[in-house]
Amino acid sequence: MRTALQQEKEGFWRVTWRHFRRNPLGMAGLSVILFLVVIALGAPVLANDIPLIMKHNERTYVLPAVITYSPLLSEGLYNNFRAWEPGEGEYGVRPIVPFSPRNQFIRERNEGPSARHWLGTDDRGRSVLSRMIWGTRVSLSIGIIAVGISLIIGIPMGAIAGYYGGWVDSIILRIIEIMMSVPTFFLLLACIAFLPQSIYTIMAVIGLLSWMGIARLVRGEFIRLRDSEFVVAARAAGFGAPRVIFRHVLPNALSPVFVSATFGVAGAILMESGLSFLGFGAPPPTATWGELLQQSQRLIGTGVWWLVVFPGAAVFVTVTAFNLVGDALRDAMDPRFRG
């Protein structure tokens, strides 16, 4: 019985993938997301002042950015890699973008794109490209974890409301109604402004304020499924409610949730960059896309276009990629849309 169920499950994913693969826009979105994930994970070796491989004091260090070496630490180099130059018989291979997001070059403030700084510098002379590469980490992690939190709250809420119905359902619906009639951005700003500033606060608050859509979706699916024969059979077999809810009904209710979660990541990334833009994002000196755009707001009329165009384009491309994947996923999972 178990193997039969598992085969069924695999079948669903394989079918979804087969249909998804035929959608060129969806595949384009997926490749962009994978590319961004690689950039986010690889940020320490893509944009850093710490060399990839270096020979120093007769010793070779491989990827000192990833592995912390105690000799380098005791020399105080980790605070000052920028100033390190290979001496006699030493060498160091720097990353493609040889600047960390915190390296300030006071004499090179607000400079346009050049061979040295490919996407220009910001108002403290920091490399825009390096800050954007590290900003990818913040955007992606906030997007994904915030949606994770909204799933952790939304799925059980919706499942319980839909499965039990009655007064449980009314109470949960009322809570959803209350949360939905308060303008989200007000609440978001109020929470963020009053709580300690950190990216974990932002993840938690965005997650806590965006579970309602997921809960409503799951509730709808549970109402549709709760009287199906397989559910009645599971109940008749004497399985308890948690087992029926999570093992029998939930797997059948998840496909719209996946679609909604993909759109949710796009929404959370938009919210995060909007918050950073207003100055409520990750605390400085953390590099985020919204923070670069915020700087450009102060520099209107000075022709600093690279601070407007590049970070905004990064937000746009990321949001579009997640939206395209969500759209393609919906078409691939819903038999009515399959060509």
Binding site: R174, G301, V308, G312, L324
Partner: protein, 320 residues
């Protein structure tokens, strides 16, 4: 509706009370020569706390606030000591003007575009419209706002539209006609930023709604009777396909009343979004609470109206 309303007030009240950083300290920080550790300032803090009722237990504070709520007395703003209701009364009309224009334009463009896409499915125009709408939908509004300011009002390229405010200097001496033109000129960029995303979403709904309706039997019937395509689409199909996008008004309402914090902040529009943003920054508790409760309350009323509207345009609802 009343339990929902009470829920909203409790939610906002608790949220703001749990916030660190007393409003009294924020107020005193603005007065010269007053360090918080001072002996004299401690007395002033105590007095101010008593004046605003901040020294009472939390449930007493909430109860008193709720009592005043019944008489629509939201207290005075900490910032300038003017009643919260007056300040909201100044900001709300601006936000309403801006968002009503934007919602009207969004529907005006979305309906014909959706109908066109639905009646020409799978042609290259349909696919390019779909892709274009998708791109519009994903564009972050603050980025578009910054680009528009940069290229059309910053003075770097074209200096066509004002980047700040909603009126020119001397707007009070203008005739009504001049005033309207001036206001419209200031509204161009913010309205573009507020409109493009909602019209993109609406068009997509309109297209799928129309395609769904065109598949119905009664449309085939109308065609079989030999009615022209124009009559079939506009007399028979259009009305029913409007139902889903009319209900979407409900989802647009919170934004209509709450305004867009980011867009109002960028264009320095003195609307609800900016008012609330500044209240939150200044820990102006009565203002934040009044603002959230009033906008939530107006949103609830709006949702009720859109439910009634739904039943009005779709008689099938009443039979259920």
């Amino acid at each position: 509706m009343i339990p929902t309303f009470l829920g909203i007030s409790v939610l906002t009240f608790l949220l703001i009370q749990m916030a660190p950083g007393s409003p009294v300290y924020t107020r005193l920080a603005g007065i010269d020569g007053l360090g918080v550790g001072d002996h004299d300032s401690a007395a002033i803090i105590e007095q101010t706390m008593a004046l605003y009722g901040l020294d009472k237990p939390i449930h007493v504070q909430y109860w008193e606030w709720l009592k005043r709520l019944v008489f629509l007395d939201f207290g005075d703003s900490f910032k300038d000591h003017r009643p919260v209701l007056t300040r909201i009364g100044e900001a709300l009309p601006v936000t309403l003007q801006l968002n009503l224009i934007s919602i009207f334009l969004a529907y005006l463009i979305a309906i014909p575009l959706g109908v066109f896409s639905a009646t020409h499915p799978r042609t290259w125009t349909d696919s390019s419209i779909t892709l274009l709408l998708f791109i519009l939908y994903s564009l972050p509004s603050f980025w578009v706002a910054m680009l528009l300011i940069f290229y059309f009002s910053g003075g770097d390229y074209f200096n066509w539209f004002p980047a700040h405010g909603i009126s020119s200097l001397g707007a009070r001496d203008m005739t009504l006609w001049q005033w309207t033109i001036d206001r419209a000129w200031h509204f161009v960029l913010p309205v573009i930023c507020l409109t493009y995303a909602s019209f993109a979403a609406l068009s997509r709904y309109m297209r799928s709604g129309m395609i769904e309706v065109i598949k119905q039997d009664y449309i085939r019937m109308a065609r079989a009777y030999g009615f022209s395509e124009r009559v079939v689409i506009f007399r028979y199909a259009l009305r029913n396909s409007l139902i889903p996008i009319i209900t979407l008004i409900g989802t647009l309402l919170p934004a209509l009343i709450g305004g867009s914090v980011i867009i109002e902040q960028i264009f320095t529009v003195p609307g609800m979004g900016r008012l609330m943003f500044e209240a939150i920054l200044g820990r102006d508790y009565p203002m934040v609470m009044g603002g959230v409760v009033i906008s939530a309350f107006l949103t609830l009323i709006g949702l009720l109206i859109s439910d009634i509207l739904y039943a009005f345009v779709d008689p099938r609802i009443q039979h259920r």
